[in-house]
Amino acid sequence: MAKRVLLIEDEPNIIEAISFILSRDGWTVHTQSDGVTALDRVRALPPDLVILDVMLPGKSGFDILREMRADATTAAMPVLMLTARGQERDRDLALKLGVTRFMTKPFSNAEVLEAVRTMAGG
């Protein structure tokens, strides 16, 4: 059964890349590039897994994560966070907010695939 992943990211080429990798692996990929409405989208779907970028228009990925964790319906949803800033401070903050997995761009495709599989399976 195809599992659903919601990709929250605003860089069109990265969306294209991740969508390609995941759909080739049998996932149904939904994308969302606006930060403000991202949470509504998560609730409306809801996906099996969320891939979340940190720098989003309107709202930061950290804020979205914080709100997801505060909401009972999404509190347990696996979240893979991607950031291009790659600072230790960001990783700490993400972990504190309850991220499932944290990755720094640029990532290897295999790594992402592996992470997604693990998170959805576990």
Partner: protein, 894 residues
Amino acid sequence: MLSFNLLIVVALGYVAFLFAIAFAAERQAANGSKAWLRSPLVYTLSLSIYCTAWTFYGAVGYAARSGLEYLTIYLGPTVVVIGWWWVVRKLVRIGRAQRITSIADLISSRFGKSTALGVLVTIIAVAAATPYLALQLQSVTLSFAVFASAPGHDWGASELNGAALWVAAGLAIFTIIFGTRNLDANERHYGVVMAIAFEAVVKLFALLAVGVFVVWGVAGGPGDMVKMIDASPIALWDQNGARWAGLTFLSGAALLCLPRMFQVLVVENADESHLATASWAFPLYLLAMSLFVVPIAVAGLALLPPGSNPDLFVLTVPLSQGQGGLAILSFLGGFSSATSMVIVATIALSTMVSNHIVVPLWLQSRSQGAMMSGDVRAVVLLARRLSIVGVLGLGYLYYRVSGGGAALAAIGLISFTGVVQILPAMLGGIFWRGATRWGAAAGLITGTAIWVWSLFLPSFGPDVVIPAQVLAHGPWGLGWLRPQALFGISGLDPVVHAVLWSMLLNATAFMMGSIVTFPTPLERLQGAQIVNVFEHSPGARAWAQSAAEAEDLLIMAQRILGPAEAQAIFQREALEQGKAGYLPDVTPGFVDLLERELAGSVGAATAHAMIGQLIEGASVSVEDLIRVADEAAQIMEYSSRLEAKSAEQERTARALREANAKLTALSVQKDAFLSQISHELRTPMTSIRSFSEILRDGDMTPSVQAKYAGIIHDEALRLTRLLDDLLDLSVLENGQVTLNRQTGQLRELLDRAQGAAGLRAGGLTIRRRKGDETLVLTTDLDRLTQVFINLIANAQKYCDAPRPELRIVVGRARGEVVVDFIDNGEGIGSEHQQVIFEKFSRLTDHGKAGGAGLGLAICREIMARLGGSIAYLPGQGGAAFRVSLPAAAAMAAE
């Protein structure tokens, strides 16, 4: 005999010459050399519009009918101007301090910027000027008729009316062209002033020439002339004392109250010291104008057949002696007298009509207020042009209705009596702090009503407006209301009768009204400032602390003063407060200054109302009033000194606050710099890595393969661009850049930038006025183009209007060439305007922008290297950037 056609040619040629003079003066003023245009001599000559066609033609007719009585019309003004230290000096000072635009503006401003009083005075002035304008049309028309009748046929009524219509239309066109070119601050019109100064010389010269011809050519010398006078019908002194004194008073008062005299005396005055020169030179001019009046009259009475119109002796005497050239000169003198008066009078009246009637109505009809309304300047100018046509139309109408029959002198006196109704309110206003607006209104209405009833309406003749029955027995048989014998006192001369009663009751109503009513705070404030104009020049403030946004005020000011001037005022104020950019803090002092600047264009009442719409309910308070009270002069001094000190501290503190805010913002930026650069580099890198892995894995169609390879290529380019920008910036910042100076056309640079900015079809529309772009620049053209490309590309990226549009406006401001890039989007909030030129300061999200936020930082560095600057220009409706280049880099083509 002279041909009539030759006369027409001469007249048209003369008008063309006047146009040339006015154009030359305007051009010279635009080039900044105003010294000569603004000399005491020109000022004095411009005052000579007091001498209208009434003087030129009418004075001789007057003398032929009533002996020396004509002199009263010049003796009154002589006394007033010689006594300049009393009244005129004060008026001029008030005019400057309050930026008065007309006599209606003065009255309105003095009495609490009252719109109603402005309207009242305007109506009185227009009503009083109408007969006078008719008089000018009549005299020019009659002078044409003199020449036209010579070849053998006399002009009939229809030809006279036709000529008058042509004259009125011609004058309207001249006045519109030179009187409403722009809304100059303080309403100064260089071209017009120069033209009327020239006309002043022409009319004086012409009258003197005819006089010299009569005394030496006809009579045979001064001695013979005296004999000729003694033998004439006007040999003996026969003046009625009441008329002599009454008319002297009337003409002196009229000098102060006539809108056109107020215009040249006060509004067009460029320097108070010119008054000292005019104080003796203007009486001398009047003397010269009256010197030969009696000789010409006597010669006319002796030489011409009985029944000739004495109002035309100035023309007919030379003609009868075969002096065609002299007659033409004399015709030009009369023509000059009439045209200069009409031009200035219509300018003054149209200013009053537009500022006090049209614009207030227009503002009221727009509920959104001054902020949202369109271009106020266009409305004001249109209102003025229409008023000019309207005022001249009224004059023509009066000419037609009154039949053009009455003697010139009689019409002039009717006009004078009407306009001096303003005198009590004016003198009371500038000398008596107790005067109130109710008193002023009561006086003006009372006096004007008496004037209309006892002089203006009867002037049309019995049974035209007032039935003969009423003239003889009063309305409804009430004898004491007979127009020319009010309160049962008959036997007085009609003019003296009207002056006496209207002035007496006007002044009484004014004083009683002022005593029993109570002034509003603003009236008291204005009263104190105007009555004591020589003491407190800086003035008390009409505005308390306000909540208006500087940007809103700027938008409004731009609509009235024009962008360049408004921006200069705001920038100057900001600089004085120690701030950069165009938006100063809105202090009461600044609002006050701004209001005065606006008043110089649209009048005090309108300016006050417009500012009031933006600064709700923050007008003058009791506290402010205490500061202006004379009794508290000591406190005021002390507190103003304290204020000066605290203002100084406030300025320093503000500068420090601003520096601190900037530092904090910068440090946050610097802190974010590393993570930003990391982000900017990693984002394209992510795509590249990911897609190259996908390609490596193989197993896809060639088209998909090509697409992904394309993405990798694009992202690699993006990375390169970013690195280029970073390097570029670091080179520029370190000052290691070498400039490659070249010479080129601004238009070509903009063309190149427009092409290189990569505009998508259906995206941004660019509006340019290529005619303004013909400037040759010598600078690093490639660098400058880079700045332009950046600005165009920014507008393309960030302009969020449904139909995005970018205007590129080239102009000059304070000796610099400025190129403004103004889009129609939402613009940038004032909180962001400080930081947009910093590195990585992107306001929207990065995905859409596709840049690293380095563009404006690079632009700023480039402009600094080129010796110019780039700044955000607030208040343009959308985002606007101004690129300024030092003038040395540019020279105008051609």
